[in-house]
């Protein structure tokens, strides 16, 4: 058994004597006897460090990760290259092991990172105020809903079907609590239907929710769509993929009141979905309604520049039931990873990466659309992800690709039944032209094999040949 404790029997005896107790059991006397567990926990005995490592490595070995497979999966989290300095810096004890910076005099490192991070996210989104970070993407969307109710006094959300299904579902979960109605607006030709959106927004609408690029990878005209929100004084909330913000017009320049999103593409691991961070930016008008931690600049008594948690009067530990949110985590370590990654990319590198993604994605889209049995789900412009429709059942096609060591994409059918054999394909800088070509080849073979089976299966089932076709 591994132990991380130090008390020897001599220590125990000396400590109990100082306490004036005869045994540690006596200290637990305050727990009523009926509530004391009278047996050991039904868990395995402890293991040595070497044994625990082997056991965890064995479990990890039964996952097909992005080293074992060529990964074209996206849908909000992407297999980007994380530079070595991110690991080196985030694993430093001084960043890894402190708590929230309640004592600013001994937390200047973490607080300054928050300040630098807020600056970076503000630059990316084109909005002046950024928080230090929330849990992750979809719950940040839900938090924007809570903010919008407080800011407008209205209780109706208009949400594009292009917003990530996880975000829409999380918003609905939260709305059941704080009380809000959700109206969904459909997609047309891959983008949010502008006429339907304008119809849906009314004087009771607290916020309009868009995502750019939307879940199908399509670039939305946020500025034009946002007009409907402006016309009714509703907040415009836009979820964005931070990796695309070097090339796409930032939400702050499109009239967004709140821009937020999933931070994983910036310096964070895939980690089977977390931990990552959510970023949350807004206009000056919303600064006292923002959820979570915000670092601010100030001076110490000798006039030295320093940083503190600012605007804490919004927060739960002071305002309690009147707080703007209940959150107290800032995903500080994950935000640090993002800040180091962004510093490493730098102003030029960040733009180059965005352009690289757009061009490789254009190539992949064209290459895959040329495969027999594949067509584009929509023709609208995309950034780093695109949707296809297969002329074959998507599940078995993905299975065949997996047998060739490729995770070909994210099937749309569960969350978008209208795209039954739809597939979402994502590109990162780790996906080379050669890998894209390989995907096209494997894909072609897999689809033709499935179509063959599908056709022969249909024939064998059909007693009357004229019913085919």
């Amino acid at each position: 058994m591994s132990r991380y404790t130090s008390a020897t029997s001599a220590d125990r005896a000396a400590m109990l004597e100082t306490i004036g107790a005869s045994s540690t059991a006596e200290l637990f006397d305050q727990v009523p006897e009926a509530l004391r567990l009278d047996r050991p926990l039904a868990l395995p005995p402890g293991m040595s460090e070497a044994e625990v490592f082997e056991r965890l490595a064995e479990l990890a070995g039964r996952n097909a990760d992005a080293e074992e497979q060529v990964c074209f999966l996206g849908a909000g989290m992407y297999d980007h290259y994380v530079p070595a300095i991110v690991d080196a810096i985030t694993q430093r004890s001084e960043f890894l092991t402190p708590y929230t910076p309640y004592q600013p005099e001994i937390s200047q490192g973490g607080l300054q990172v928050m300040f630098e991070f807020q600056t970076a996210m503000s630059e990316l989104t084109g909005l002046p105020i950024s928080t230090a970070g929330l849990y992750e993407g979809p719950s940040s969307v839900a938090s924007a809903g809570y903010l919008a109710i407080g800011a407008t006094g209205r209780r109706r959300f208009v949400v594009s079907r292009g917003v990530h299904p996880h975000s829409r579902e999380t918003l609905a979960t939260y709305a059941e609590g704080f009380g809000a109605e959700i109206v969904e607006v459909g997609l047309k030709d891959g983008v949010t239907d502008p006429a339907a959106l304008a119809d849906a927004v009314d004087g009771e609408t607290a916020a309009v929710f868009l995502q750019n690029p939307n879940f199908l990878g399509v670039i939305e005209d946020v500025e034009a769509l946002g007009g409907a929100a402006k016309a009714e004084d509703a907040l415009l909330v836009v979820a964005v993929d931070p990796m695309t913000l070097s090339v796409l017009k930032p939400p702050g320049e499109c009239g967004a009141d709140v821009a937020l999103g999933e931070g994983q593409p910036l310096g964070n691991r895939l980690d089977f979905g977390g931990p990552s961070f959510g970023f949350f930016c807004g206009t000056e008008a919303l600064i006292r309604r923002m959820p979570g931690r915000i670092a601010g600049e100030t001076d110490d008594v000798d006039g030295r520049r320093g940083f503190v948690l600012a605007l804490q009067t919004r927060e739960q530990h002071i305002r309690r039931e009147k707080a703007t949110h209940n959150i107290c985590t800032a995903q500080a370590l994950n935000a640090l990873a993002a800040m180091v990654h962004l510093s490493w990319l730098g102003r030029e590198g960040f733009r180059e990466l965005g352009e690289l993604l757009v061009r490789r994605t254009a190539y992949a889209r064209q290459r895959l659309a040329a495969v027999e049995g594949v067509e584009l789900l929509h023709k609208a412009p995309v950034a780093r992800e695109f949707a296809l429709r297969l002329d074959a059942p998507v599940g078995p096609v993905l299975e065949r690709c997996a047998e060739h060591g490729i995770a070909a994409g994210y099937p749309l059918g569960r969350e978008y039944p209208e795209y039954e054999n739809g597939l979402l394909v994502a590109i990162t800088e780790r996906r080379s032209k050669e890998q894209i070509d390989e995907l096209a080849d494997v894909f072609g073979t897999a689809i033709s094999a499935e179509r063959g089976e599908f056709l022969s299966h249909s024939e064998s089932k059909s007693p009357q040949p004229q019913e085919i076709g």
Binding site: F53, M77, F178, F272, E434
Partner: protein, 504 residues
């Protein structure tokens, strides 16, 4: 006290943006390898960004140096004693970092087909089973991202449970000693919070509870041991009172580290528990996240758990069990976030549970309680005993609360002054000014991973600060002296907020 500037104080804060120079860079990207048309040919010009975000321009050696220097301006648990009450600053084993970084964990895409993520799903299932056993409640969802997220889950589950029975309840009870997240969550979940008073032993005041209980009460949120570090002996009776009117009982698991393997929230009568994996189960706090706040629930709450849920199917014909994600849960409250939760945290906490095992977890709580009582006894002696009396004088569990009221009255030293002076002695101060019902409160939680020597050194430092205060209270009032910056103007930061760097 004449302040001589330390080297770190002399080195004034400079942000990475201020170290930036046009033309410098770190990253070299792979070449595109595909045709490179102008972007305008791929994306309409009016949707494109004109000016690049003003990120720093700086080479790798200076990035490394910048963040390493910043790191040295932090105090951290790996460096020193961190008795921050209610935060459970226990050692973060490095093994857990190593196993979390294995590519099979770190580079596993969350949308991977469950058939190709069997190891991850099995790990989640095993962690669920472990937490269920520790909490004494049969069903677990790992989805909530933090304790506060678990609290929200708990109240949304409560709402769904009552709605399913055709009831609309409006009130949630919480003691006046509760964590701030409790009342904040109550409001977010659309309920009204009703405060319950605390009795002379630091527990729930039963008469006040009975007076406030009605069929409008949806839930009682409780921490046990409570925020004074005391186990509420009336818990069974409290549970009876709430259950009698049909409410649910919610356990804020912030203080679970006191009772692992000794007493279980489920056996106390709780319906819903959140577990802070970053407290009791050793996930590093990371300077304010990440963490995770799984919830364990009773049978009657289980149908409403968030989706997806990890399920296990027993194998047949000699094959082992298989694992899947179940989305088909019609009564579920739905998702609380994207994908499956903070899996990287699950890996670390499961590694911790495997390392300690049944006996090790029980021992961890036992030593946590021993250490707290020892430090409490040490601080009852000498000047601390006189100036900083214990708020409720009985054996504590894993933490205890002192009151700085006499110190303030007799020496003119506020709890804040003592806390700031402790910084000069190389200690992180305890939690201050919480719980609210103790005047000038200091909440001390040493955890099980500290040595007797560390506890003695802390008690000695408090004694020395108080002795110094008797001579010259001004020393502590002006503290700290040795930290990278001294006391900061927090009022200014809120009145005239500067929350980002101005860039030209």
């Amino acid at each position: 006290m004449a302040a001589t500037e330390t080297p770190m104080q002399r080195e004034r804060a400079q942000t990475i943006y201020e170290k930036s120079k046009p033309g410098r860079r770190a990253a070299v990207l792979p070449s595109a390898g595909v045709p490179e048309p102008p972007l305008e040919e791929l994306i309409p010009k009016e949707l494109l960004r004109v000016e690049s975000p003003r990120l720093p321009e700086i080479a790798e050696p200076e990035i490394v140096r910048h963040y390493n220097r910043l790191s040295r301006r932090n105090f951290d648990l790996d460096t020193g004693f961190y008795p921050l009450g209610s935060c459970t600053m226990k050692h973060n084993p490095r093994l857990n970092e190593r196993v979390a970084a294995l590519p099979g964990h770190a580079r596993l895409h969350p949308a991977q087909d469950p058939r190709r993520a069997q190891g991850a799903l099995e790990l989640m299932w095993l962690l669920q089973e472990s937490l269920a056993e520790i909490c004494g409640l049969p069903h677990v969802s790992l989805q909530p991202s933090a304790g506060s997220h678990g609290e929200l889950a708990g109240l949304l589950l409560t709402r769904a449970y009552h709605a399913d029975r055709g009831e609309q309840r409006t009130k949630v009870l919480a003691p006046d000693t509760s964590h701030g997240t409790n009342p904040a969550t109550v409001t977010m979940a659309g309920y009204e919070v009703v405060k319950v008073a605390t009795n002379g032993q630091g527990g729930v005041e039963m008469d006040d509870l009975r007076a406030k209980v009605s069929d409008e009460v949806a839930c009682l949120m409780l921490t046990n041991p409570n925020t004074l570090g005391l186990f509420d002996e009336n818990i069974a009776e409290i549970a009876g009172v709430i259950h009698e009117v049909g409410g649910t009982l919610y356990y804020d698991g912030a203080n679970l580290n006191a009772v692992m393997g000794h007493s279980r929230p489920g056996d106390m009568g709780f319906d819903i528990v959140h577990v802070n994996l970053h407290k009791s189960f050793s996930q590093p706090h990371g300077g304010g996240g990440p963490g995770a706040g799984p919830i364990a629930v009773s049978e009657r709450i289980a149908p409403f758990l968030p989706r997806p849920q990890v399920t296990r199917r027993e194998g047949g014909n000699g094959s082992g069990p298989s694992y899947d994600l179940d989305f088909d849960r019609p009564k579920s409250i739905g998702r609380l976030r994207g994908f499956q939760g903070n899996f990287g945290v699950f890996v670390r906490s499961y590694a911790y549970i495997l390392s300690l095992g049944a006996d090790g977890l029980a021992e961890a709580s036992e030593i946590a309680v021993l250490n707290a009582n020892y430090l409490k006894a040490r601080l009852a002696q000498g000047r601390a005993g006189k100036h900083l009396p214990i708020a409720f004088d009985r054996h504590c569990m894993h933490e205890f609360v002192l009151s700085g009221k006499p110190m303030k009255r007799e020496m003119g030293l506020a709890t804040l002054d003592l806390a700031k002076r402790l910084l000069d002695f190389g200690f992180h101060p305890p939690t201050v000014y919480f719980p609210l019902l103790v005047e000038e409160a200091l909440m001390v939680e040493p955890t099980e991973t500290e040595t007797k020597e560390s506890l003695d050194a802390f008690a000695d430092a408090v004694e020395q600060i108080l002795a110094e205060g008797e001579q010259d209270p001004e020393i502590a009032r002006q503290a700290p002296y040795s930290t990278p910056v001294r006391r900061l103007d927090e009022v200014k930061a809120t009145r005239q907020p500067v929350v980002r760097q101005a860039l030209s």
